[in-house]
């Protein structure tokens, strides 16, 4: 019951939307698609759903030609970003709709639906119309409807994107529990948030410009992004990339900062590179440490953390600091570079070494 | 059954029916326009472009086109202004709004040709209400069908009475779906009602206004019923419009071939004019920063 794509591609006119996608999706696992907004995540899912036609390559399900099947014969489910439910049907009717479509009797359908609706916490809202529900409740209805028929493929396109921060955190956990019950389905979940990917996914697939550029276990991809592009996608807030040089046993950041070469970089040939640092691993310097000097550009408070954007002669550095702090734009700050946590990339963006744990 | 089957299932029945009903008349007109048929003979000869040459120098035809331009543009403009005012007041809320809405809808539901008969009875010089009231007020009567300006006036009155409700309906619908936020914001900022209207409401209504105006232009160009009944294009040819002229030539005088030529010319001119007008209006209504 695998979903297998071989060299799948979609082009519309001159525009290439997907290219060279080869992947084997297994049932019972949750695959997380990550990438920028127009990387092709939605297009890939819509192609799997049958709403877009393949223009090259193959798509097979359980060994049989999947691409030739029209959407309504593919037994796939989808949850959209926008809260999509049938506006003129009640919650109960919405959830029983897929079952009734496949011929189930009303009594049995309602019984099955009741259980699932209770599970998503909407047991008291059976007779409500979706228009009278909050965003979070509407998405719960949507996911109940998607889960109820044990579809072959379950697709979720950034389902939490339009919800507010607190709701997102809460639903993230709920979704993970719900999705792990879909044992027979291939589950594909698209998101731009690394925290969701790490929490929910069994396997992480990074997409960029219509291609798959890395895939693997989430923690593995996170620890070893194979390029600057992946590193930027997989880190939120973004990783700071600074020009670097290795020479004479020293790691030079920009023109000014020279650090002793850290352990994991010993043995790397001298040359020009790019160094990446996670925002959570950079710190504001206290006196006495070797630092990069810069000026504060922007301060953002996100949740219970503060993001500080510091403009230095070498480049822009983003620091993530716990708690809420009031730094001012224009303030001079020093940034301490944790050389032991350097991600080293070569000038064309490929990973050379990642810091070990 | 793939998606192509369903694609066709939706579009083709309607489209094919339309093509089937229209294609023969269209092709026939083109063929006839190059003949000199006048119904008496049964065959179709071929005279090439002589009908077309005649059309180009036909002063009566082109003056009727010019008349139509005046008529269509003026009546559409008046209907637009009146309709907008009516829609605005209902939208802003007025006592008895529901009643007014129903009443104002009535002219739209009347039959133009039949209403033309009624207008005729109103504008009859001897026993009509118009002159009757003038007499009661001690004023001199007007020759509604014998003088050019009054005759044109009667057509305009009939047309405006009939179709302003359409503008009203259309524009009211547009007003009802306007986003409330910009208007509330302007009110809070202390802008005067007229400023709010001209700077916010009116520009926001641009796409709908353009749609309504284009539709009315298309429909009013075809005007025939009221002219036929009310003035018979009179006095003289003061109220002769292209459709009436066409009818005269092809059906009353049996110059079918020439009529076909005129018809196709009319079609081409209308399509060109309307496309130009549409583009001009859209250009004028493009969003500008201020």
């Amino acid at each position: 019951m695998n979903l297998y794509l071989e060299n799948a591609g979609v082009s519309q006119g001159k525009e290439v939307i997907l290219e060279g996608i080869t992947y084997d999706f297994e049932p019972g696992r949750i695959y997380v698609l990550m990438g920028r907004t127009s990387a092709g995540k939605t297009s890939l899912m819509r192609t799997i759903a049958g709403l877009i036609e393949l223009t090259q390559g193959k798509m097979l399900f359980d060994g049989k030609d999947f691409d030739a099947l029209p959407t309504w014969q593919r037994n796939t489910s989808m949850v959209y970003q926008q809260f999509i439910n049938y506006p003129n049907l009640t919650v109960l009717e919405n959830v029983t709709f897929p079952l009734r479509r496949s011929g189930m009797s009303r009594a049995l359908a309602e019984e099955t639906a009741h259980k699932l609706i209770d599970k998503v916490g909407l047991g008291d809202f059976l007779d409500r119309l979706p228009g009278k529900l909050s965003g979070g409740q509407q998405q719960r209805v949507a996911i109940a409807r998607a889960l109820i028929r044990n579809a072959n493929v379950l697709l979720l396109d950034e389902p939490l994107m339009n919800l507010d921060y607190k709701l997102r955190e809460q639903l993230r956990e709920e979704f993970r529990d719900l999705l792990t019950t879909a044992r027979n389905s291939v589950t594909i979940y698209a998101t731009t948030e690394p925290s969701e990917a790490l929490l929910i996914g069994d396997e992480l697939i990074i997409m960029h410009e219509g291609k798959v550029i890395q895939h693997g276990k989430p923690s593995a991809v996170f620890e070893h992004p194979n390029s600057v592009t992946v590193a930027k996608i997989v880190n939120d807030p973004p990783m700071s990339i600074l020009p670097a040089k290795i020479s004479d046993g020293m790691l030079c950041i920009g023109d000014l900062l020279r650090l002793r070469i850290p352990m994991h970089l010993v043995g790397i040939p001298d040359g020009v590179y790019q160094a990446g640092f996670r925002a959570s691993e950079l710190t504001i310097s206290t006196d006495g440490e070797v630092t990069e000097q810069g000026v504060v550009d922007l301060v953002e408070v996100a949740g219970s953390e503060t993001l500080i954007y510091v403009n230095t002669p070498t480049g822009e550095i983003v620091i993530q600091k716990e708690g809420i702090h009031g730094y001012h734009v224009g303030e001079k700050l020093g940034v301490s570079i944790p050389s032991a946590r350097t991600f080293l990339f070569n000038p064309s963006g490929e990973l050379v070494v990642a810091p070990g744990n | 059954m793939g998606i192509t089957f369903y694609k066709r299932l939706f579009l083709l029945p309607g489209l094919l029916l339309l093509i089937a009903v229209i294609i023969f008349p269209l092709l026939f007109s083109i063929r006839v326009s190059m003949s000199s048929w006048n119904v008496s003979r049964s065959g179709l000869d071929f005279v090439g472009g002589s009908n077309w040459a005649r059309m180009f120098s036909d002063a009566d035809f082109w003056s009727s086109m010019l008349r139509l331009l005046n008529f269509a543009v003026l009546t559409t403009f008046v209907q637009y202004v009146l309709g907008f005012m009516l829609a605005l007041y209902i939208w802003q809320g007025v006592k008895g709004g529901r009643f007014f809405r129903l009443v104002w809808l009535v002219p739209l539901m009347t039959t133009p040709s039949i209403m033309a008969i009624v207008w005729r009875s109103i504008f009859r010089e001897d026993i009509g209400a118009a002159n009757g009231i003038l007499k009661m007020l001690g004023l001199s009567t007007i020759g509604w069908s014998t003088e050019v300006v009054p005759a044109i006036f009667t057509i305009y009155v009939a047309e405006i009475w009939q179709w302003t409700p359409f503008m009203f309906l259309f524009l009211l619908a547009g007003l009802l779906i306007l986003p409330k936020e910009p208007l509330l914001a302007a009110e809070i900022d202390g802008a005067s009602p007229s400023r709010i209207f001209w700077k916010i409401t009116f520009p926001l209504m641009a796409p709908i206004s353009i749609g309504a105006i284009l539709i009315r232009l298309i429909e009013s160009s075809k005007i025939f019923d009221s002219i036929f009944v009310l003035t018979s294009a009179g006095p003289g040819s003061a109220t002769e419009t292209p459709t009436y002229f066409l009818w005269k030539r092809s059906l009353a005088e049996f110059q079918i071939a020439y009529g076909a030529t005129l018809a196709l010319t009319y079609l081409i001119v209308m399509i060109i004019l309307l496309t130009i007008i549409a583009k001009v209006l859209t250009y004028l209504a493009r969003p500008r920063g201020w």
Binding site: P98 | V106, A173, L176, D225, W247, S250, A263
Partner: protein, 277 residues
């Protein structure tokens, strides 16, 4: 504008709307003397009302009978509207959801083709339609007139409904397709229930334009299927007195007004706003 000016304007317009209708109404009850003496307005004060005019048109006095014509109008309008709304609605849905194309022509060209039909004045098509129906033996038949009217009404439906459908998120029918409905079922189960306002508006316009057609009925029908407007105008052509004509005018207008009043509740719900872009 100050409040009073506003009400003056509104009342003035309302009065203007009433003028021809009340004139026709009173005239329909006048005697020949009352009409020929000059303009008279108030019944019982200026003239004695009589129902002679009405008897003339309802077949009672033997002069004319407009009832069969009204029935013809009803039949023809009903079926033409039904076909136009159905086929036009389907076409509009297709144009809203799918991408059609043939060489360089795409959806907007197809829509333009539909709308261009409205630019053609009936007189342009009169002779060709005459010949077409003659060839098909459909002259002076209900079916012939219905076909001809449908070609003029379908464009209205398509133009109105394409915009309307475009405003309904396509994810809803996509969802239905994912859940096992073919496009037709998806349309029927999910989009159609949401389309009632748009259908109501299209139906109203179809009925209005269909009922009011004069030209095609004049040219393409003779004795069997003459519709109301053609019949009334024919009365006008002969020397028919104004009291009879006024009665026929009021008689012809009533059904349509009745119809729209009934359907107006859909307009009132702002349903029209969904149909307008």
């Amino acid at each position: 504008m100050s409040k009073t000016l506003k009400y003056v304007f509104l009342s003035f317009w309302t009065l203007f709307v009433f003028v021809p209708l009340s004139w026709a109404l009173t005239t329909s009850f006048k005697t020949p003397d009352a009409v020929n003496q000059g303009a008279t307005f108030i019944p019982w004060v200026q003239f004695e009302p009589t129902v002679a005019g009405w008897q003339d048109i309802l077949g009672i006095s033997g002069y004319a009978n407009l009832i069969p014509n009204m029935v013809n109008s009803a039949i023809v309008t009903f079926f033409a509207s039904l076909i136009s709304v159905s086929l036009g609605g389907f076409a509009a849905y297709g144009l809203s959801r799918f991408r059609y194309g043939w060489k360089y022509y795409g959806n907007s060209d197809i829509i333009f083709f539909f709308i261009a039909q409205r630019i053609l004045p009936p007189v342009v098509l009169a002779i060709p339609f005459f010949l077409l129906l003659k060839g098909l033996n459909l002259l002076d038949t209900h079916l012939g007139l219905i076909l001809v009217l449908t070609s003029g009404l379908m464009p209205i439906v398509v133009w109105l409904m394409v915009d309307f459908f475009n405003q309904i998120p396509r994810e809803i029918d996509e969802m239905a397709m994912l859940e096992g409905c073919n496009p037709f079922q998806a349309f029927r189960r999910t989009i159609l229930p949401l389309s009632k306002p748009g259908i109501a508006i299209s139906a109203i316009f179809c009925v209005i334009f269909g009922w009011n057609d004069l030209f095609f009925s004049l040219v393409l029908t003779f004795t069997n299927v003459k519709t109301l407007p053609a019949a009334v105008v024919a009365l006008n052509g002969t020397v028919t007195p104004f009291w009879t004509l006024s009665a026929s005018a009021i008689f012809s207008i009533l059904p349509l007004i009745g119809f729209v009043f009934i359907v107006e509740r859909y307009l009132a719900k702002g349903g029209f706003s969904g149909a307008v872009r």
